[in-house]
Every structure is written in structure tokens, then in C-alpha cells.
Symmetry: D2
Subunit: 477 residues, 4 copies
Amino acid sequence: MDDKLHEECAVVGVFGHPEAANLVYLGLYSLQHRGQESSGIVACDNERMHAEIGMGLVADVFDSARLRKLPGNVAIGHNRYSTTGDSKLANAQPCLIEYSEGSLALAHNGNLVNAEEIRAELGAAGSIFQSTNDSEVVVHLIAQARGATFADRVVQALSRVRGAYSLLLMTEREIVAVRDPHGFRPLCLGKLDGAYVVASESCVMDLIEAEFLREIDPGEMLVIDAQGPRSYRPFNETTPKHCVFEHIYFARPDSFIFGEDVYRVRKLMGRSLAKESPADADLVVPVPDSGNLSALGYSEESGIPFEMGLIRNHYVGRTFIEPQSQIRHFGVRVKLNAVKRVLKGKRIVVIDDSIVRGTTSRKIVRMVREAGAREVHVRISSPPNLFPCFYGIDTPNRDELIASTHNLEETRRFITADTLQYLSIASMMEAFGDKKGNYCRACFDGNYPVPVNGRGGPQQLPLFKNDDPHPFDPHII
Amino acid sequence: MDDKLHEECAVVGVFGHPEAANLVYLGLYSLQHRGQESSGIVACDNERMHAEIGMGLVADVFDSARLRKLPGNVAIGHNRYSTTGDSKLANAQPCLIEYSEGSLALAHNGNLVNAEEIRAELGAAGSIFQSTNDSEVVVHLIAQARGATFADRVVQALSRVRGAYSLLLMTEREIVAVRDPHGFRPLCLGKLDGAYVVASESCVMDLIEAEFLREIDPGEMLVIDAQGPRSYRPFNETTPKHCVFEHIYFARPDSFIFGEDVYRVRKLMGRSLAKESPADADLVVPVPDSGNLSALGYSEESGIPFEMGLIRNHYVGRTFIEPQSQIRHFGVRVKLNAVKRVLKGKRIVVIDDSIVRGTTSRKIVRMVREAGAREVHVRISSPPNLFPCFYGIDTPNRDELIASTHNLEETRRFITADTLQYLSIASMMEAFGDKKGNYCRACFDGNYPVPVNGRGGPQQLPLFKNDDPHPFDPHII
Amino acid sequence: MDDKLHEECAVVGVFGHPEAANLVYLGLYSLQHRGQESSGIVACDNERMHAEIGMGLVADVFDSARLRKLPGNVAIGHNRYSTTGDSKLANAQPCLIEYSEGSLALAHNGNLVNAEEIRAELGAAGSIFQSTNDSEVVVHLIAQARGATFADRVVQALSRVRGAYSLLLMTEREIVAVRDPHGFRPLCLGKLDGAYVVASESCVMDLIEAEFLREIDPGEMLVIDAQGPRSYRPFNETTPKHCVFEHIYFARPDSFIFGEDVYRVRKLMGRSLAKESPADADLVVPVPDSGNLSALGYSEESGIPFEMGLIRNHYVGRTFIEPQSQIRHFGVRVKLNAVKRVLKGKRIVVIDDSIVRGTTSRKIVRMVREAGAREVHVRISSPPNLFPCFYGIDTPNRDELIASTHNLEETRRFITADTLQYLSIASMMEAFGDKKGNYCRACFDGNYPVPVNGRGGPQQLPLFKNDDPHPFDPHII
Amino acid sequence: MDDKLHEECAVVGVFGHPEAANLVYLGLYSLQHRGQESSGIVACDNERMHAEIGMGLVADVFDSARLRKLPGNVAIGHNRYSTTGDSKLANAQPCLIEYSEGSLALAHNGNLVNAEEIRAELGAAGSIFQSTNDSEVVVHLIAQARGATFADRVVQALSRVRGAYSLLLMTEREIVAVRDPHGFRPLCLGKLDGAYVVASESCVMDLIEAEFLREIDPGEMLVIDAQGPRSYRPFNETTPKHCVFEHIYFARPDSFIFGEDVYRVRKLMGRSLAKESPADADLVVPVPDSGNLSALGYSEESGIPFEMGLIRNHYVGRTFIEPQSQIRHFGVRVKLNAVKRVLKGKRIVVIDDSIVRGTTSRKIVRMVREAGAREVHVRISSPPNLFPCFYGIDTPNRDELIASTHNLEETRRFITADTLQYLSIASMMEAFGDKKGNYCRACFDGNYPVPVNGRGGPQQLPLFKNDDPHPFDPHII
């Protein structure tokens, strides 16, 4: 993927472990790919909540001293995606507030499509806001809800919101983990030494050596307290609409989400791509690491040898300061380099997972050609990205999506490839077998499962970025 | 490679470019894999030298403000390897001193085997030292040398030292780049907008879009000043003895060093390994990224499918603080995760470039087995590492090298593999074709091309580390 | 004063100046003595508000880069006092929120006595809180108020709160400055280049060379917008109850507050002390700098020569880290040193402004005696501190106030002085002449002008500190 | 004093105390007034030396973590003065080097007048230098010296240098403290719990509660090792030439140096000034704190009442960042404020210790007049500063010393005072009684006790500053 789309966040929660905050920290570390702007943990000992939240990567925000300030057996954490516009500490999560019942911490992955409406209503009634986060409306709704138990109040509050949420809520007594009825974003449950762990992806369980129990279901609310976890289904049942882009790009390939291996799905997409759009070429070369597995699949299916002809700099991801240079713009070169003697004189199939604005793809094609490739055939393991996402992926406006403003041939010319092919929607869905109905693919076909006002028009939520803020975004490499 | 060996450093120099320090910074960034302990740049405008040196990674040491403090058309820079013992700012390079002729800056990659002797002599005559670097003796020798030109004085000084050096020296008028007569460490020359660039590896030229001109020859001294570069051969000619480990592990695969593509050599070693030590298995899986290319070669030669069954966390490399945890030691898990559904029930060939202490390999084998692999066959694309290096690689003592203390079968049992095979020295050398005589392979066979006192015995230079200081060393992942 | 009492804060606002934030910064700098825990500025350009808030001193929180992030013609700022308990960024001010009418920033000096009640009410209705500040209730009340103008809503909100407040509120259109009906805390108005400046003390006007116009009256609300300042008197008129401790200790001696020169009042108190409690002594020595002016007054009245026999370290005030030492506790020595040859063999009158716990006075007496003084007579220029303050001064509980737990003779013995005398309440009030009825002296006589629940009992507000957290508090020296 | 002269440094050493570095830290803290640019400590445990050195104030450079890195029973420390030119870490002290005999650390207060010559000689013989400090030649000379003991080698080295030095040298076995034969700079000896303490001023002993034993004599070398201190007199005896400015301005008033109380001397100078240059005035007002004691003396002698009509901001001294303001230059206002109602309508005698460039005095006179003073009479408690210092005080060039370029009347007009008088040299010397011959007063009369090439001419040492770098220098206030 180039230019890049960004996932909003990662969430991790631990209930009942003496090193709760340490485990959350490790979990956030292994979910760094889901958000690099800020990282935070709120831990709860028997008396009160302690928050440590900062801008930057998990490893930059937390050190031993800061982790020691997070005592207690319960903790939740959050990584937020990287952007420029409203990148400020007030927007970082977990969000921690005081209300009539005590303290409440919240960590949210997803996006609420009616947050603005609710915010306007709450505001009209005199509510005040600390952030521009859509998530802040949830804590207001909970504080105003009436009900015998915390779980009741959460259900009452969530009955008001629509959109995508994989949500962790922490009080002095419990953690509540909820997934919206469509299950747009992943969320899973594990167990470690008698404690319960909730996390966006299963790779967290591997790192901390927790037992992976299962995914939390769409529409399920899990209350974990001293009595252990109890499951509730407070919402009307509906067809799941998992985000297909989690499989295409966001999730780690070693995670298991939406009932599938990410690794397997990506390879299958590469295989389908080879069947659908073969290329007469000498070598298959992935754009590392996002294109690695689909390239392997493409190579296996096509029989064209796989070569790692583009090498990534391991250290990109750090805050590289491009010198204010009259020399030239380094762009993708800082992240990738072509291996000349692999590519020279060869006909190359370059595989990537997606194209957003096309500018990065154009640079890669140029780099491959300068390295001596005779032909450059670009194959993309997902369909053309035509519509913005309203459920938690930070996409540009439609007029910046190259597939929306250029047809296939125009896009090919723009990126200067000899040929260009995308995977068809149908073939993509094949990778999910009989679960193909359970996926949201609105970014490809515009069919939004949860209605959004003025989809993509002027009312588009302000959190959608207008421009790629990070020429050296860590995730894309 | 596990546990890891460490290269001492990277050097970059630019002469005659208005953004000299910016270019050196970019070069150091692309050579971050050669040293993560400290980074420094000394730039020279017409009047004086300016130094900015700090502990940590290039991207952490330098920001725009600091780069702006480095004006001038000439600059040299240095990355130093990561260790704990004498990890201090006084040892970071470039070293900048004042002497009778003005200012002098030095950046050194390699290790001098007679530094201690010279240091003792200099000390006896009243010299004082600021660091424990072997490189500091060179500036003393230059300051005490007599000769008409700076180049003369450099030659006179270098006639005293033995060992490995790819060296950059900067005065107010020139940069001098020298490689020791055996050419242990790489060094190459490029050109950009009329300016000259010298760097440890050719990938620097790719990043800054300089033209790669050629490697500096073993024993060559290049003087670059306002008149352009002039080449000298001040030393008696001798057989080159390039460090074979640069090809096995240190250099970036997109670099061209010692007249060879690193990428091609690594794949060849993998192919030879497959011929020499086949395995009856279902999948070839590299330890990423160090085993990637040899695994590809192994897969191609053996016909066993290649799968990326171990996934690395992109963000490791940052200063991960392992929480002071009673939980467990996370070790390699933070860096790598096994993809269960790829490995489950399969017979796996795990490919890595080398084994040092064996502890990391043991963890990886365990991880692969826990992911469900039926058999684990470890294949190493270099020979058993038996002897310490005295020419610039920071190896443990012999009694910590598992190949030195355990025979093949014992090592296999230690790492708990079903089978274990190394590449033979002969096959490894095949990868270099008719240049095979030009390589130092002392770490495998103990034949040290430059004599060292008590090779590996008690006189071993103190800079050799006794223990792997970095459980999460960024380079190994 | 020893041990010390702490004022809650300083406020500064500027309306209509192109360098509004810079001026606020300078103002906060000159009011550093009123709060050292945190410092913050919110500036407003035509479009939005920008906040920069941090823990620490003004000069540590702000540098040029941070000030440049505060554009606009309007700004307010705040210094908060130093404590340990709930010393956290969430409690630092100005507080900045979003509500139905836009953005709102608030900076508050004082303490609301019914904040807990209102908070409970608001909480019961579903409001959420970000901080443990009493000030946060004010923004909630404003957001919920109904009224045609912002000023109307402010009045409606303030009609609910009781206690001490000198308050600045900023919207995108105006600054509103209000002082509670009793005028516990100071607040004054100035003018600079056509812009208006509001600040806690008049010394701000001197520093930025603004014209001092007048004090804002008790109960006055000043609305400053594009039309200039307009004055309102929304509250029922009542007798002013200025905090007498502002004159005794908090305010800078070069400020003019409550219609009086601080300098003049302090000297008068010293003179009255000399009349009321003379001493047969050789020298008058102030505890610098808090006792300087009353010592001068004492010396003038008594004719006993004034000597600066205790010298303060200019650099105390910075975050001195007392080494974890088995040696000894350095305490007051780090701040003060006795001049031996001045004190030796002499009978000394030591003058300070107040005694809180007595421990610092005890150390000072010991120091003076060790320097060779023959007799040590302690004279305090205010009455015994018997009751806690509920209007914004952070006093210890009654059982930690030495005057509350020890009678005069017991206190004298505790601090090991030869004699000890306090100024009487009557004499203290003399210093204010015919305005003496306009002062709150509840800390001396327990007559609280605004009723407080359980005054000093268990319901005492949690923000009162239980212990002096700062052995080297910058203000006391 | 205005504009300001700067002392080079402070030194502190402790031998034989388990908390040696902590004590040195406390000592440096109490000597912060002697140098604010950098601070450093080198501690020695039985095996090796540990250095922690940083730019900034003592309290900014050191925290608990950093102090814990300085184990051992022996330590020396140094504060360096604040300037801009060559303000860099390489110049900060203590200087720590390795040479043939082991490690050597040095801390130096003073200035060597023949450092450049020796440096040229050493350079010609091939020595290299790390800094532009004059002190670095001393370690070279020691390393090259021959002699049975370390003390012998120190004497041999010091026989080569001329100028001012109060010097601490530390090896693994001893601390050597030496004062140059004229004793330009102070140095004293104390004892604490069996350990020995050496420090620039006696106030160090007071803080750490060490017993003040005595001053180290001019020309005395004290060797302190496991056998205790031993005194040597290796130099020819000569008349002491103590720096008179230590008494006028540099030393803390609570210190005892050159056999005199600083406090007493300053008051005497004020008394003499009153006798010599009376003023027909209403009030005596010091420029705090440098003019405090002479103002007290002036007031006592003249009978004119003393008032603290200029108030200093306690918090100046911190790194105040003047906002890049078009408003106005704040200069002295940030540090001082006039108390209007004290000064209004009065005839004021303003007392300061010295005038350097005159610009600060001019601002103070203006401030006093704007506060309403009817007349402003400036009295300076030292003679006109006509000549630069070569012995360790950082004075401007002669053409920047206002007394050198303007006669008395011109100076008076420049600073806009009604009258201006300096203390005469004769009266100043009276303060020292029968020791008056033991003082260097070259800055007033140009009689340099140690010859200097081209005194004040072009050969002037480069370390003399050309301009006041610090509009808000912490020392002057």
C-alpha cells in the first residue's frame, strides 16, 4: 500500500494480573502497527486510577519509571494512529474521567458515524468536551445513562451510537469489552495465569504467552470482573460486516481475525491475482513488507520466481527528519532501495496490497526501472480504492484517491508501469470462502452497511485526513 | 544470526557539497545497521569545524536544529556499534582534535591490532588520551608525524599501525580516505553534483542518488581536496583479506562490496547449503531478515516451498524497555512471532545466517515447535563460528561461542533442533568464485592474516564484549 | 514564613495585542512567586484556541518554540502552586474546553467553598470531570447556563458558587475578568499600546511597561472585547474581605494591592512589632527575603541596627535534588547561611513574617546560634496562625499549625528561641488604617466571612496539603 | 555591578568520604554564583574514574540518577562561567584524561597567562588538544613530566605555567590542591567525618557542615591521600596578590576569603564611600543583591535611611527566554522592579558595586526616575574599572569599559545620574587594613603582578568576551 491509509487504533486490556500495566504495554508494543501517534495506559489499583499517556511510539512513551507509576491488577491501553491535523495530547487515549459513579477509562478502536449529532445534542444540553475525539461522546452518554449496573448504563449509552467500535471500558471494579453489532474492527479474548486479556489482535496473546480463547463476537459485550467474564448480547442481531482492509493491510500477518488467518488470506489474494491477472515476466518482487505474502502467493501460482528485489531500511519508522534540503526529496528512497543486480534486464512483477494516491507507486516503479528492469508490471492484491471509509480508517477524500479520479489506463500511465492490474472484488471475496457475506467492502463498492450522512460529501467527518502527513510513515515500508 | 556479533561502525564523508552535513546524515541513516550506539558528524566551513555527536540512533541524535549547526561544504560522519561496557560519549566518533596544524577529525571502521602497544609507547612519552578507542592513537601519530603534506603525515602515521581500517580524515582543506592493505572493511567512492562521497557501503550512494564510481582499493589512500580526488598507494601490496562476515551478515543486501553483490552471495550460500545439507521437509522458513536470502536460495535449490512463517515486529530496534517483570522473559518473542497455521503439522527448515551463543536459536526452535511444527531442521548459511575476530567485529570470547565449546551434535541438542547443519567453509568460499583467496575467514578457521598477540587468549583486546548486551538488538531481527 | 503556606495561583490575560501570548508569558514570569507547580497559556487567534501547558516553572515550561505555537491577539495564562498530592497535568490551568457555543478557557485564582456540592449535583445529572480542580465546576455551570450573552451565562454560573475567585474567562470574542464579591484575591487592570491587560498583581504592569489603570473591584465583572472594557456589578454588594496574607507574605513587595503598597504595609507591621514587642538586642536580622521589610521597619522603630546576617543562595528555587544521603538532612542550609562574624557574640532579633509548623524557624534559630549569637529573639510580623484557610491558601490542618497545638511558651521552647513574640491582630490591622474592616483574617481569628462546612474539620477540602512537600520550596527563601 | 564581569569557576574536592560525589554536588550548588555555564563531577572508586559533566546549572545537570553514577570515596567538581563563544561541552571541566600512569582529572579556577605559548610548544612536538581551555596544557605538562611521585610531576609541570590558578588534581590515589604563588583566587580546606574537603569558598563548609580548617596558602600544594594531607611549598615565596574583585563582587558575602570576611569588607567599602562621596539625599537604595552591603554601610555612615526600593525577581537566574518581541527590550526589568511609593518624590542614592559598560546602570537610573525619584545619585563601591583582567575574570576589552572610554562626567551623563562617584583606590584598600599590599588591583591601576604580553592589546587572550552574552545573567541581580 502506498501513501497510506491509516487505522485508527489498537486496544489492549488486562483484568486480574499483578503486572497488568506491564502486560498491556507489551500488547501495545506488538500492536504498534495500528497506531503510532500516541500511546497510553490507565491502570487501576484498588483505590484509584493512574494514567500515563504520551505522544509518540509505545517505546518512546514508556520506560521503566513510567510503568512503575501504573500499579494495580487491572489496566487498559491504547495506541492512536499518526496524523498531523489534530494530533494533540488531549485527543490521545485512554480517555479518563470522573463522574458520579467514580472513575471511568475508555479505549476505542473504530469510528462512530453519528458522533457529531450526539455531540451537538449533548452540547445543547450543556455538556463540555475536552477533545475532538468521537469517543468522548460515549463517556458522556454513560455518565448520563440510568441503570442498575455499569453494564446496563453502557448498553443504554451504546444504543445511541452507530458505527464501528471495539471498545474497552474500565471502572474500579470491571473491564467491559464491547464490539459493535457489525464487528467492523477485530477484538479477541485470551487468558494468562488466571487473568483475562482483551486485545485488538491475537498476536498480543502470542507475545505475552496468553492462551488465545476466542474472538469477541460482533454485538457481544463481555463484562470481566472478580466473578470472571460474562457475555451479553444486548443488540439486535445483524449480519457481520468485518473490515476487509484489516486482512488486506492493517492486521499483522501472524494474527487470526474474523475467523481467518491473515497470512493465509493474503497469500490467497496473491494467488487469485496471479490467476486473474497473469504477467509475462521474469521475477515477482514484493513491495516490502505490505506486499510480501501476496507476492509469495502470486509467485507460487504463476511459477515466476520470487525475489526480494526491494530492500527496506530496518530503521525507518523512527522519526526521520528529512533535512531541509535543496538537494532533492528523498521520499520512498529512505525506506526502500532496489537491488540493481537482481532487477537488471529483467521483466518485473511488482506486488503491493493497494494504491491510494499513486505517488508512492510511481516512485517505486521509477526506482525499479532505474535499477535496470526491462519491464515493470504492477499487480495490486486488492480492488481499486474508490470510496472513503467512515468506520475507522483514515482515508483521503475521493478526489485524492487515484482510482476515483483516474481510470485504469490513466492510473497506469501516472505510475508509469508497463501494465497495471487490480484484484477484482469477486476474487478478493473468494479468499473468505463462505464467509464472504460477512465483510464490509464499502471502500471498493460504496455500499455502506451503516448509513452515513452525505457519504464522502462535504459532511465527511473532519477526522479524515486531507493529505498524507508522513512521507516516511513507519507502517508502509 | 543470533545473540549477535556486532560490526564496529559506519563512515560517510562528503567533500564539496553545500549540504555536506545533510548528505552525511542521510548516509549514516542508511548505514544504521552498522552501528546503533552513537552517531556523529563533524562539518567544516572555511573557518572552523563543528561537531555534533550523541548517544543513540541517527534519527534520535539529529534533528533539523542540530543539522543546521553543521555548516560547510565538507563533512564526515560515523555510527558506532551498540554495547554497554565502555559505551560513553567520549568514545563516540568522529574524534575531533586540535594540533599544531589546525583541526583534525577522524572516523574509523575496523580495529587496530597493535593499538595497545602504540598507546603504551605514546603514553610513556607523555601523551594523554581522552577515550579508550583504538582510533585515538592514529590522531596522535599524525600530530607527531613530520612531512611536507598532510597526506605524507598520514602515511607516516599509518605505517605504524596494523589491523583493519577504513578511515576518513578531515582537515580544513581536504578529506583523506584510506583502506588498510588487506581491505578488511569496505569503502567506496561516489559522485553527486560535482561533490565526492565516500562511504562504507554502496547503499549510501543509492539513497542520496550519487553515482557509484568504484570501491576504494585495499591499501589505497584517496586525497580529496579542491583539486579533486588523487589516489595514492603508499603501502606494500599484499593479498586482500576482505571480511567474509560482511557478506554473511553485516552489509545490507542491496550493497555491492568487495566486487560482489551481497544479495547474490547470500542467495548462493543458501543454494550451496541446500546442496550440501538437504532436508526432508515441507517448508523453508527464514529467520527474518538475516536469513531471508539464504532461505530463498535454499528453497529454490531444494524445491521446498518458501514461507515467511516467522514474522518480525517492524518496530523493534527502538529502545524497548522490557518491564521488570516476574512474569517471564520475553526475549526473542518481542522481535519475532511464529505463524501458527503456516507451521502447524509441518516439517520446517529454519534458515539463519549464523549461530553465536545458541540461546536465540534455541528460542526460535522452541517457538516454531510451539506453533505446531512436526520437525524443525536448522540450516545455517555459514560455517561454525570458532574464533574471535580482531579486525573490527565484536565477538564474544571463544568459551562463549557455542561452536567452540560444543560439537555439532551437542549444539543440535542445545538448540533442540531435529537436525542441524552448517555450510562448509569450502562451499561458502565457492560463492566468491575466483576471488575466494581474497577473503579473511579467521573466525571460521583461525588463520589470522595479520598477526595478533595471543589470539583469543588473555591479551585479547578489551573492546571485545563478554556478553550480548542487547536482548533486543535492532540488527538481528 | 517557614514551612510554608502556598498561594494557589496567578492569572494574567491580554486582549488586543499582536504579541498577546508573549506578554502573558512575561506576566506569568513576574508572578512566579504565586505558583511553581505548573504554568500554562491559552491563546486565541481568529479561528481557534491554542494551549501550551506544562509542569514546572514558567521558564522551564516555555521556550521560543513553544511561544510561537500561541498565535493571536488574545491570551490568558495561569501559574499553579506547587504540591505533591494531585500534582498532575490534568489539574494544570488554564482549563480549555469545547461546548455548544465554541471554545472556552478559564484561569482561576482562589478557592470555591461549595465546589464539592456543585460537583456532586452536576455528577448526579451526568456530567463528567477531567480534573480534581474546584475550577472545573465553573465551566460546567457556564455551559449549562442559559442567557443571551456570554456575560449573562457567566453571571448565572457564578451565582451558584461561593468562595474566593479572581477569574479570567476567554472565548473567541472576549475576555471576562471577575472578582468575587468579597475580593479575597487581588486582580488589576492595565493598558498597553491600546491593548488591555488583567493580572493578579500590579508588578506585571511594571514589567511589560503597561499603564496601571486600577484594581478590578470586589464583585466587579469586566467584559473586554472589540468594543473595549465594560464593567458590570452583577452581585449584591457586601463588605470586602481581602486576604490579609497577601500583604503579609504572598504578594511581591513592589505590587500595589487592595489599595495599598505591599512594601509600606510590611514595613508598618515591622514598626508595630517593634513597638509592641521590643527586644534588648544588638542587631535586627531578617529571614531573607520574606522578613526583609518588616525587619527594616523593626530596626527603624527600635533603633537597633539592621544587618543581613542570613544570606540566601540565589539559585535555590530550582529543582534541587537533595542527594539520598546518609550524611545529614540539609534543609534550610541549602537556602540560607549565617554570616558568622556578623552574628558572633551578638544578641540577635530574627524577624520573619510567620511561623507555620515551626520546624524551619527551629533550624534558623539553631543556625544563628551556631554562628555564635549570644541570644536569639524571634519576632514574627503577623499573629499566630491558628486556623486553616478555605479561600485559596494551602494551609496544613490545624493539628500541624504549631500555634494551634502549642501556646506561646511551648512554641518558643520548640524553636529554641530566647524570646518569641508575634504581632497582635489589632496592631496588624492598624497597618490598614481605615480600611481595616475590609480584610479577612480568618486564619488568625477563625471568623470565616463565607461559611464553610465543618470548617477545618473532616470535611476540609482535599486540596489542603497534609505536609510540606518541598523542603526547598522556592518561595520561602 | 552591571553588564557583568564573570568569574571563571568554582572548584570542590572531597577525599575519603563514602558520599564524596554527593558532597561535591552540594558544594558546587553553593558555589553556583561562580559559574553557570557548565557543571561537572569526576568521582573515583578503587578501580576507575566516572565523569558526569553537562551544560547548565548544577541543579539542571545533576539528578539522583546521575549522582548514583558517581561512586567512590574521592571526587572533584567544577562549575564554569557562562558565556556564548566557546561555550561547549568539550570545554567543561573537570577534564578527565588517561596517560601512562593511569587516569587524571583536573579542575581549575583562574587563568594561565602563558597557556598559548606552552600550547604552541606542545603542539609543535605533536601534542593534540581536545578543548580550547588554558587548563588543558597542565595535564599535558604533567603527563610529560618525570619524577618519582605524582606530586613531583605536578610541581615540575606547574613550574612552567604563570598566572592564576586554584587547582584540584585527582588520581586514583590522591587529590592534590595547589594555589599559585600569588594566590589570586581563593581556596580553602575543611574536614568532615574524617574526610577532607577543598573548595573555592568557605560557604561550602557551612552548607555541608564541615569544619573550616584554614585557607590554603598562596604557593602551597596540599597532597591529600590515605595518609592524610601533607603540605608542600614548592614555589619561591612572593607577595600575595589576591584578587580584590573577589571581595567587591564575586565571593558570597557569607564566605571568608583572603583572611577577611567578605561581608565586613563590603560594608566597610560602603562606609568609606559615604565618607568620601556623601550625597544630599533622602534614601539609600541598593541595586540588589550586589549593592546590598555597601548600601547598608553607606546608610549607617551617612545616616540616610536604607530602603529596598529596587526589588528583584527571585526566579531570575533560570534560563529566561526573552520572547522574540517587537514590543520592547525588557532587559533589567525582568530582574528588577522599582517600588514607586518608596521612591516617589525622593532624592535617592543608588549603590552598586561596579560599572562595566554602563548600560545596565543607565537602565536602573531610568527606572528609578520613572518611579518618581526627584534626584538620582549613583555611588559605586569600587574604583573605575579601567583595565582588563588576565587572571581569570572575564572582562570586556578596554574600549568597552565605560570608565576607560569616558571620563567621570561623561559617564555620569551616559547613565543620566544627577551625580556619580566611585570609591577611590586608596579608600578601597583601607578596607583591607595592613593586608592592603597583598591585593592585585590591576583592573583599576593597570599594574599587573604577573607580566602579560601586550596587556589588553591585540594579544589579549581569546577567552575574554567581547560582549555581554546574557542580558539576564543570573549573577548580577
